[in-house]
Amino acid sequence: MKRLVLHFFLLSMLSSPLLFAIDNLKLNSKLDYTSDSLDGPLITGDDAQSGFVPGKPNYVIIYGEGCFNSKRQAQRTVELYNKYRSRVHFVVIDLEIQRSPEQQKLVKQYYKGYIPQVLVLDAYGEALHNQSGEVDSEPIENIFEKALGH
């Protein structure tokens, strides 16, 4: 009986969004990078509603679908994901759809009304980077490398 309870507990923990980050990140191939057209969600992936996951650095993008700066940052986000996917958790927050409670925690704490917004959080959730507007990949990679102890 105890074993059953333990299995159930472990299973429910594993299925919790707190333990899984978004995976299989893909950029919407129909994005128009020159205008604020509505082309649908910028990034898709499995478990897209996940929030902060402790234990590794987290990269968070908060974006709006009809914003060309967000589209360009989405492109950089997927490039960073392809490079760091095994070492960094990625969180993708689309402001045009309803968000999970885990994502809402980040929205309430960090979002100030400007998009796109990029955050890098350390393994404990402390903000190492918090900026509105587009940000190049290089400074983000430097922050990742420092956070990963390189």
Binding site: G64, E96, K112, G113
Partner: protein, 191 residues
């Protein structure tokens, strides 16, 4: 004699009368409260049949008097979906009559009031509502943002509610004070 005097006046009046018919068919009545606004986004809406106010104390006062929610539209001249909403929703006479009957309508230009708009976008995100541009918000007369969306099409499509559906939902929520208090964001109304 009478006819002679009347004819030139009648000829002058005829185009004016015809213009009146055309304007009323297009839903263009007297300019609304945006007539004196400098912003291009606001001034281009001054002949819309919606009785738009700019963002200031007056619409909130009026909303209190009428006990109605405020319908807020935030947009910009460069935003294609704002043009769509203006063209398909806010110039539709039936929709405008519905808005004028149930809401106090306020229009805000993102480029003219970036700080205010950031506050509105943040408020809507914190309440876990879709945000974006245009931003469509529903606010109580005392400044609590309690419902809203981004772009709302004239007819619902691809799972997006239509403007009318969203507005009906806003009215239902407004009627239940506890729902508003439970899920809303108090705005700073100084600006």
């Amino acid at each position: 004699m009478y006819f002679e005097w009347y004819r030139p006046t009648g000829l002058l009046l005829l185009p004016l009368v015809m213009l009146g018919f055309v304007a009323s068919a297009l839903g263009q009545t007297n300019p609304n409260h945006l007539a004196r606004e400098q912003s291009r986004y606001l001034s281009r809406a001054m002949n819309q049949p919606v009785d738009w106010y700019p963002w200031d104390a007056d619409p909130f006062k009026r909303a209190k008097e009428l006990h109605r929610p405020i319908l807020l539209d935030v947009g910009a001249v460069w935003c294609p979906c704002c043009v769509l909403m203006d063209r398909n929703t806010y110039t539709n006479v039936d929709t405008a009559n519905y808005i004028n009957q149930h809401f106090v309508a306020v229009k805000v230009d993102l480029d003219a009031s970036p700080k205010l708009v950031a506050q509105l976008q943040q408020a809507q995100a914190v309440v876990n509502l879709p945000t974006g541009l245009p931003l469509t918000s529903f606010i109580t007369p005392d400044g609590r943002l309690y419902f809203g969306a981004g772009y709302l099409p004239a007819e619902s499509k691809n799972g997006k509610p239509s403007f009318r559906e969203a507005a009906d939902e806003a009215l239902s929520r407004f009627a239940i004070r506890s729902t508003v208090e439970e899920q809303s964001f108090q705005l700073e109304l100084e600006e």
